[in-house]
Subunit: 504 residues, 2 copies
């Protein structure tokens, strides 16, 4: 081993996951800590060969680390690319230049495009700490972003990662603003659109805080972790796909921003617009349909909030050359019966196969959105889209296309139901008055979704429906008895998840 | 040992210092992580007996923790008060209610007093994550705080901790806005004021990012970590003291806010005002003199910034019943010769003893500020304060008082100089054109200050002074040869720290 200089320490992988935030661990009595005057939570620059990262310092008091060592969290370890025992040098980082424009923004000075480019580049490179990102997010929130700023932020985010290009044109895409459990229309839309001759290379995400993302549900039915080459083959032969987008770095700055925005729950139409549009532009899309559920426990909670967001999405989309259409939908209750990967996949299959048990609301919503998609892509005249969508679904053409896509992605799979179920029952006879989307999603997660794909919630009632006392309002599904108990305890503590009003 | 419920884990102290942010470490395959769907960086509630804390989750992959264990950082360990192996229960925290008023503020709605009270209470209780505090700080920055908000924030911060009460009246206090190395007037001011019959129970801080705080410098001369009872005895007998305030929880929310504000370097006159005034009000002061150095590399960089801050401090002080006087001073170069605890203590002693080598600038500044303090406390008419201060210093009365205070605090000590010194020399003959306060402070810290009290920098020149080529412009002092080399290398890399211009 080479000899350490005074600013050098030996790298050690700590096996500690701090998500996107690189963390370094150093002994308080180590020479570098003493000489540089580093204290806990200081930002430190760590360099090895040609690479350098900035990490947040945690100071270790115990014997778990030697004074000559520096421990690295998973994010820091991967970003630095060093090996165990490598000598790395540690120093004070230069201040992040681009943060001065964030400070100016706080004082009311708008960002220009170059400033946003530099901010996003530095965020992507891991130069911003979480509190610096929080300051950026806060400065942009409260509708403090102009359209010009939103457009420039979107462009900067597209530039921060991979950008796909397609031979085909138009390239259709779809997004749901979210917050509605079970609203799994994407696989149905892709099948209908592709069956009608549109190109729709759909990249989807896995769940972050919800019981299932589209990629989680689709993974029940077919492989979704495809190489870019494989994705291109599927799209060239079938016109569409439903794959996980995480293996392609589309708008990577977005992931880091979301990590900070989500816990703050700061609604920022500018940043939400940039987040959505940057992913779609990076995916090479030309036309975008946005499903925007509006409801008290959905992500968009009021018509006024919907107005602001819709205008931001459409105006920025137009400025960026992405034809964007927003469709507002009912966000007062879940869509379909299942919440959780397998249960949602079963609903999707039932609609595609025109099964007797297909949830009518999921079918209706999928047809409505598919109709808009067909019109947006030029396959139907205005007002005629929904009829073409219905024909494509009812004829079996959509199902045939879906089967072909699944096979092209690696094979159609059969969903396997969970072994453990327990009903939650109505406390009295009456009418279903409200459904809490957020707490119902929580129940599904406590039951194990999405890590246990068959876990989740199966809803037995709809708003306004009459129920008898002790009739099940929903079933909890779990893969393990412990998880079933856990979710059931939460459900019992929250009888308002599905509220039943006695008729007056 | 008792049996663990499904939501319980055994507490383990990790010996990891994450400063004020409580962090919990859990294995990714532990039952609670799985059941609750916790991911890295999630906020988790940890309860034991009657106490509960909220911590940020780091997920551990290795074998350093068992799946049945939860590791706690130092801040989490102390806040929870559990013992090794205790069963603690882990759950999702309820959303922090008071953060909704921060969200409203981001949208432009001013805080009311009750909202700020709740925000500060929750910050003090550790319920806010660092990114939530960053959002609060950002929402308040950019001069977005009204005077009413600033006053309410100050009151809330006072209420968050201990509040001292004194029999004496008036109770004088002094604060320096900071950023000027060596500006160690406080011990001199306290001695002069107390010698003239004023009550001045001065609580000071240790250095956080500077090479020395007043408490670090005073600790060279006398014990500063006193109990409250001991402080009262000193003040009753001598009229003044200079002690470390850290053992009394004065405005504890302030420490948490500063931890986030400092790295962001967001200038917020409202929060700076609340920070300064809350500490003084909590200390029981009735009259406050503020030294505000203005200069390009000081904390307040321009006359315009000084105007805003001065107005905020004086108006809020008036509203809170704290008589506040701001004195603007030269912030273009350090004060005195020494930077670092021992070197500053030597300067302070020289001024108090009227020694031949006393730095004239430190003496002048101390007299100016002491004069204002005597006028503010009613011991001298307007304009007569400086003459009384000079008389008190020149007569030896101030030195006698200082000796008595040191003895009452536990004994006067003799500073011990560092064994290793190295000069930094002028590259050419010429005039000293500028001095970089920040980088000079950095050099002193790299030499080991304040942990090594004798380490630091001894300045040999003043702005505008003529120097010969190779004449020393400053000396680096260190307690160890390695630290001397380290600081010298930094000094060599930054010849602009003291710039010498050849005469034209």
């Amino acid at each position: 081993m080479s000899t350490a200089r005074q600013d050098q320490l030996r790298a050690r992988r700590m096996g500690i996951d701090t998500y996107h935030e690189p963390v370094a661990f150093m002994r308080e009595n180590c020479a570098v800590c003493r000489a540089e005057g580093f204290k806990a939570m200081a930002r430190v620059r760590i360099a090895h060969d040609e690479r350098s990262i900035i990490a947040t310092l945690n100071v270790v008091r115990g014997q778990s680390l030697a004074p000559s060592e520096i421990g690295l969290s998973e994010a820091a370890w991967h970003a630095l690319g060093s090996h165990s025992g490598d000598l790395v040098s540690v120093s004070h980082p230069e201040p992040v230049e681009s943060f001065s424009s964030v400070r100016s923004k706080i004082y009311g000075k708008p960002f220009d495009a170059a400033a946003l480019h530099d901010v996003v580049r530095d965020i992507t490179a891991g130069r911003y700490s979480s509190i610096e990102i929080a300051a950026f997010v806060t400065a942009c929130a409260g509708n403090h972003m102009t359209l010009e700023e939103t457009v420039a932020l979107t462009r900067a985010m597209v530039d921060s990662g991979t950008r796909l290009a397609w031979q085909q044109n138009p390239v259709m895409d779809k997004h749901c603003v979210g917050g509605l459990p079970g609203n799994r229309t994407t696989p149905i839309l892709v099948a209908i659109a592709a069956a009608c001759g549109l190109t729709i290379p759909k990249t989807s995400s896995r769940a972050i805080t919800s019981p299932a993302g589209t990629a989680d549900t689709m993974a029940v039915l077919a492989p979704v972790e495809l190489t870019l080459q494989h994705i291109r083959r599927v799209v060239d032969s079938e016109g569409g796909c439903v794959v996980w987008g995480g293996s392609i770095a589309l708008s990577p700055a977005d992931d880091r921003l979301i990590q900070v925005e989500r816990p703050l729950e700061i609604d920022s139409s500018g940043q939400l617009t940039a987040s959505v549009l940057s992913k779609k532009l990076a995916a090479g899309s030309t036309h975008l349909l946005i499903d925007m559920p509006v409801g008290a426990t959905a992500k968009v909670r009021s018509a006024a909030a919907a107005d602001v967001l819709q205008h931001s999405l459409e105006a920025a989309g137009a400025a960026l050359g992405l034809q964007t259409r927003v469709v507002r939908t009912d966000g007062t209750q879940p869509v379909g019966r299942g919440i959780g990967p397998v249960l949602e996949a079963i609903d999707v299959l039932a609609v595609l196969r025109n099964g007797a048990g297909a949830p009518p609301d999921l079918r209706q919503r999928a047809l409505l959105l598919a109709g808009h998609l067909l019109e947006l892509g030029g396959k139907a005249a205005a007002g005629d889209g929904i009829a073409l969508a219905r024909k494509t679904l009812d004829s079996g053409a959509a199902w045939k296309k879906f089967e072909a896509i699944c096979i092209a992605q690696g094979g159609l799979r059969k969903p396997r139901r969970a072994p453990h179920r327990r009903p939650v029952v109505a406390p009295c006879a009456g009418i279903v008055g409200s459904i809490d989307n957020r707490r119902l999603a929580r129940t599904a997660k406590l039951a194990g979704a999405p890590l246990s794909p068959a876990a989740g919630v199966e809803l037995c009632v709809r708003l306004g429906q009459r129920v008898e006392a002790d009739a099940p309002v929903y079933l909890i599904h779990a893969e393990a008895p412990g998880e079933l108990d856990y979710a059931a305890a939460y459900a019992a503590a929250h009888p308002e998840i599905v509220s039943v009003k006695e008729p007056s």
